[in-house]
Amino acid sequence: MNRRDFLKFVGVASSASVLSSCGVEKSTEKIIPLLYPAEEGYIPGEAMYKSATCSECPAGCGVSVKVVEFNPVKLEGLKNHPVNDGALCLRGQASLMRLYHPRRVRGPLRPKKGGLVLDKMSGDMLEPVTWEVAYQSITDALKAARDAGKSNVYLSGRTSGSLSALIDSFSRETGVERLPEYEAFSHANLRAAYRAVLGVSSLPSYKVANADFLLTVGADILETFMNPVSMGQQLQRARETNNLTWIHFEPHVSLTGFKASERKILPPGSEAYLLSFLLNYFVGNQLAQNNLPANVRESLPDAPIEEVVRQTGMSEDELNQLAQRMGAARNPLLIVGGVSTQQKNGYETALLGALVQWVTGMTGSTVDFSRAEDYSKVGNVNDLTAFAQRLENEQIGVAFVTRTDTLFRTVPAQTRLSENFAKAAFKVAFVDILDQNDKELVKSYSEMYDLILPLSHSLESWGDAEVQNGLVNITQPVIAQTIFDTRSEGDILLELSRLYRGAESAVAYADWLKTRWTNTYGEAALTAALQTGYYQRPAGAVSLSLNSSGLVNALKNTELDSSSDGKVLYVVPSIRMYDGRSKDLPLTNEVPDPLSTISYGQWISVSEAAAGELGLDHNNLIHKQREVVRLESGGGAMELPAWVQPGMPDNIATIHREQVDPALLDVDPRTGETLTRIDGLSLSKTGANAVLAIMAGKVAQGDRKIIPSGHDDHGHHGHIKGDETLYPDPYDRYTEYRWGMSIDMETCIGCSACVSACYIENNIPCVGEEENVRGREMAWIRVQPYYNEEGGMDSLIMLCQQCDFAPCENVCPVYATYHNEEGLNVMVYNRCVGTRYCHNNCPYKVRRFNWFDWTDRGAWEEPMTRMLNPDIWVRPKGVMEKCTFCIQRIRKAKDVAKDEKRKVRDGEVIPACAQTCPTNAITFGNLLDQESQVFKKSQSEREFRVLEALGTSPAIHYLRKEEHA
């Protein structure tokens, strides 16, 4: 071939191949194989939502579980649920960690007994056994106990719905006695009072939403009392529609108190006098809507006005004014509870409270028994004392303990339950989390129990819960297979019952449930309930009448006076740990306590004056060191670092319930209520210092005017495009959206649910106590308490302000952080080299640096990686991170909007913090849209922006508290 021919051939061949590769054939398709087969309606990358019930407290909030590729990754309140309507508290948000907790019990365990000497030396151990062996040992023990004439007992936490019915049938079939249920917060006095006054054994639901005047005495309605999320939401509704006035009386200091319109401090024990005064006022002045029969009136405890004044420290005028305001209200509501009903005269306080509710006509209207919470099976501490007695007499064979405080750490020591518990012949604990690296814990379990059965998480099994009368939450398993070798309580009981009876066919709990549901609700209602997540019967009318004979009886043994001269310790419930059950979750420890900002560890809160009296040198210690004090009272003593709590009365100290030594707790023998007020407290300085993970440098703003005081109308209400200014209009850069937020400090209750939600949504690691003490928390959003000199407290929610002129942006040498055209101050994690200049230059200090590879350090220990939100990265070490208004949610909404060829609608994007807020204090939206909620709020008279004088022009518009008369 010559050169010319060669070139021709090459030319033809190459042009042919070029031509043939032009254009797309019609049959060409993109083939992207699915990593997971699209079974059961799962679409890879798409989130599914299933409903469940939160089990971190008995409130029974409905939960919507976001499931991505078979893994639940986020819990949100179930929209329109009668209890919580879309919101969830900080514990509820954190409870997802319970499912993936690396310390979950992974199969049945039993203490290793006998064996080699070497085993003995290594301490107590728990060894795994198979389910067959476990079941066999239980049935053997049940039969042995029956033969020995001992009783077998079943002790659980509060149970409702189908599971309660199953326990009943299990008890019948196997001859097990079902003990009264144990709840640390059993409201025993409150229930006893309602039983005495109305003859009911349940707790009402308080219709805060319908009230225009709310008086709370001791009840921490925003923290743990009954259903705090619901309370928060209802408060907000009542404020909007009824112009609610809320007065809170308490002997100590609580978050609830600070968030009330008026907080009043009562001396310990004087609550009963206040209520007695109110009762006398309404009865005596003929203002009562329901009158008291003469015999009741005669047996009422005597509380002359002079004594009321002396005890409460309020003047007669003040008392009368209060009563008048209450009388003038159209829908008043009185809630008595919490610490006020857990003291020596707590029963009297509760009784008087119930009577005031009765005479003012609240009972039946704002105190609603048609949606009552059923506590009929819940016992009290007296029941545990009786149980301990039977244990001591060796009358107990098999003891099942489930879904409650299995080591009885909240049970007052005087019941002698924990010391006698081992005397039962065979003890079975149903446990979900047990840290087997904790030698102490393993020792306790191996001493107290013969068998430990792992419980499945409620997201792993079918279930229901009757949270209120006529309201049943349906829980569906959202995870295809249990993560570990665990079983649901229902399955365990059904199997045990079958083995005990020697029956052939096994029934799964799921089938048992479905049969029961179909029989109870019918097919159609069941299908509907599965879709909505709950089943609700219309509330039937409840006829209530005064139980005068019982009441007269109850009033016989009453003693109003319970005042105390000395120091008083209040054991208060914790918004983070409830009664201690949420203690195992990393996140409830990591999110700081909203009052003290302490994350990890134990402490006692005292007043400034008390600290001075003790000679505590808290001002000269470096930020996170505090002096240790020794507290003693009758039964026990503890040594704890002291936190100076602003607003605390001088003779009062508080400690959280999960931190207290049960030896300090007393019991009211009449009602079996745990008394959490401890008199005769003596505090002394030990001279030692301890490091406490206090997250705030300071909890007062001094003269800094971070929250501007008073009404200085600076005329900067928000920003409207085209506002005249000498400088370039920052809004010129934005074309379609300028994302912004408004946070209403009037409605914010400081509950920290937003913080918790942000952690879960954005894969923020929990870094542990050591790093918290170092000041290396990773929270993108935080609740900053600022105590003021007037005795109040503001919770300032601090997160990235997405400034128009962000000081962080121009100092980044590599453009890792920049301003996008929607006003967001975005962060390109991949580009960050970690100079931390942006963090230094941020006046709000909301940027968070990854000091370590938190994954390596166990923040996402297996199987916790499964809870990571796949829509957002897990940031590696050496990279800065921060809030970007949940940009993944913005993107998602924009995608949808783009498909539908429209702009994103107002309210379509809700960041995780705003989504879970019980009081809707956080509003998010497009500031360019003058119809948007956020824009309207940004134009409010109350609007201010933090550190506005720096010229950063933040996109977060705070609304300052309203001036109260």
Binding site: T597, I622, H623, K624, M695, A696, G697, K698, V699, A700, Q701, G702, D703, R704, K705, I706, E771, R774, G775, R776, E777, R782, Q784, Y786, L796, M798, P807, N810, V811, C812, P813, V814, Y815, R831, C832, V833, G834, T835, R836, Y837, H839, N840, N841, P843, Y844, K845, R848, F849, N850, W851, F852, D853, P876, K877, G878, V879, M880, L947, L950, T952
Partner: protein, 454 residues
Amino acid sequence: MSSHSTNVLGSNVPERDELYAYNYKAKLEEDVFAAVSKPTPLFYIALLTALGCVGIGATSWAIQIINGLGKAGIMNPVGWGVYITDFVFWVGIAHSGTLISAILFLFRAKFRNRFNRTAEAMTVFAVLTAGLFPLIHLGRVWFFYWLFPYPNQRHLWVNFKSPLVWDVFAVSTYLTVSVVFWYIGLVPDLAIARRIKESKIAKTLYGIFSLGWTGTFKEWQHYNQLYKFLAALATPLVLSVHSVVSWDFAMGVVYGWHTTIFAPYFVAGAIFSGCAMVITLMVPMRKMFRLERYIAIDDFEKLAKLLMLTGLIVSYAYIVELALALYVGKEGNVFEYEQFMYRLTGDYAWAYWTMILCNVISPLTLFVRKLRRNLIYLFVLSIPINIGMWFERFNIIVISLARDFDPYAFGYYTPTWIEWGITLGSFGWFFTFFLLFSKTIPVLPVTELKEEVD
């Protein structure tokens, strides 16, 4: 010939050295190269110690790279701590070299000839040390090259608005110019070394680095022009480098950083610390290398006067900062006011008052002529000044960040052993270079000193 007036050294060389002065040039070469040639056991001990410190620093850094920056004590809200303090400290040390060699050269201040070689060497090594810290403090040091504007396929560019990028250019320019200036000044001396040294390897190496210098008239003509030109080029750098470093802070919004006086304040501080470091290095070197004949008390006194001057400027800056904060007061600017009150009385007051004692009070003693002419006193004084200047940067960086705007985000920073280890390593790194320098390169500019007698 009266004993003092015509003394070629222009100083107080004793009369019995008249004869010596007669044979000055030969003796000079001999003495200087005597110092260069003979490593003593003490030298090896010093070198090993310095290398040991480098080892400690390198280990600490390795631990930090493997585990993350959390191994250091920096935290929220103090994102910069000992590392940036060290960075500014070493950049400051690097300062007096160029000042002494370039500016004093242009001003024909002859006494600079005693110090310029060492000061320039110190400059180069201090910049090399300072340059490590921006790397050490990076969260992801393996991507340090992203700070340079290099063309790349993804069109990623650096942010020229960021003072950190200015730093990259300021420091690298300064390093380049300092090295070139130092090397050009070295060339004739290297040629002398080539002539004097006997070993073949030394002859070859000095031969290569002396660039074939023969000392012809033409060469000297070019050399002098180039040297003058480089001196003129380096002079603005003396002012610019530390100004740029100061803008790392002054461009920020943090009170205690955001001040217009920062550039001159930092330049004066840098010269202050640089002169102190020259004294720290030169006093023992003069003694050990027996250079008393060439470096006179008068020369040191001139350095001491420079110390006094810059010390006063620095003190003035402290007063201005404080006075402004007190003048605006709590009502005017509560953040600034409280920041400075916190410096005076807060958790870090000990660091602030250490700085005041070292940088304001101690240089005042130099007003006493007797003290400033006492070399031992000068040497002892130079060390607290170095310490004080380190604390000055520590105070600016750490105290300002520890309490900026939001009281919730106040914090307390304590350095860890990793940070101290790396700081120690930086001294080891600097002294390793310096020790090697003292045994390879004439520590006095032989040709320039010879010129003086011509």
